[in-house]
């Protein structure tokens, strides 16, 4: 699982029916600087990920998201997703040994 800033949402015109019930978030994965408190903007290098969300996370929040096969584990039906919001983060305590 990685952490990421929710920086937007994705709205679909036509979608696979399996995607109903959740929303899609634009998520910028955390770099080490973000763990230390750096804001999401300006965007750090690295691709932005689209994450399927059933928790109701909003723009500006930090989520923990899981990728790959585990992203579909919460469903009892086949779903075409590979990133899933597992947690909305309340608090981060980060104390790296070396900066």
């Amino acid at each position: 699982m990685r952490l990421g800033h929710v920086i937007g949402t994705v709205t679909l015109a036509t979608a696979d029916p399996a995607l109903r019930g959740g929303s899609l978030l634009l998520v910028q994965p955390f770099t080490r600087d973000n763990f230390a408190g750096a804001p999401a903007l300006p965007l750090a290098p690295g691709s932005t990920t689209v994450v399927y969300d059933t928790l109701g996370a909003g723009i500006g929040q930090i989520i923990g998201f899981t990728e790959g096969a585990e992203a579909t584990a919460p469903f009892d039906r086949p779903v075409p997703i590979d990133a899933y919001a597992a947690a909305i983060i309340d608090r981060i305590h980060y104390d790296p040994l070396t900066p």
Binding site: L3, F35, T66, E70, A73, A87, I88
Partner: protein, 108 residues
């Protein structure tokens, strides 16, 4: 399995049911010289590892689902073991691991 160091913790209220009541830690992956590599990842910690402790992370999703007892858990990483010491070739075994003094250096 990945060598890592515990660099913090997170708390979450709105989360998947399989995370409720479980300690989730921030793990910094390390290279063979214990230097940070890449961005930290999150892992479930059933061993109550201490801050800055070196650990082994398992990335086996099925093992994690068995650990939390939920076949629908999206979790993949968990703290598999706490590291005491490791020795690698090219280093100085006597300095890094006194018990290895007197042994021939590893090949490679």
């Amino acid at each position: 399995m990945q060598l890592a160091r515990i660099d913090g913790t997170i708390t979450s209220t709105a989360c998947h049911p399989s995370m409720v009541g479980r300690r989730t830690v921030i793990c910094q992956p390390l290279d063979a010289d214990n230097r940070p590599v890449g961005a930290p990842v999150l892992a479930v910690d059933p061993l109550s590892a201490g801050l800055h402790q070196r650990v082994l992370i398992s990335t086996d999703g099925s093992a994690t689902r068995a650990l939390v007892g939920d076949p629908h858990s999206p979790l993949r990483n968990f703290i598999l073991a706490l590291v005491d010491d490791e020795t690698r070739s090219g280093g100085n075994p006597a300095a890094e691991n006194p018990s290895a003094a007197g042994l021939p250096p590893l090949l490679g």
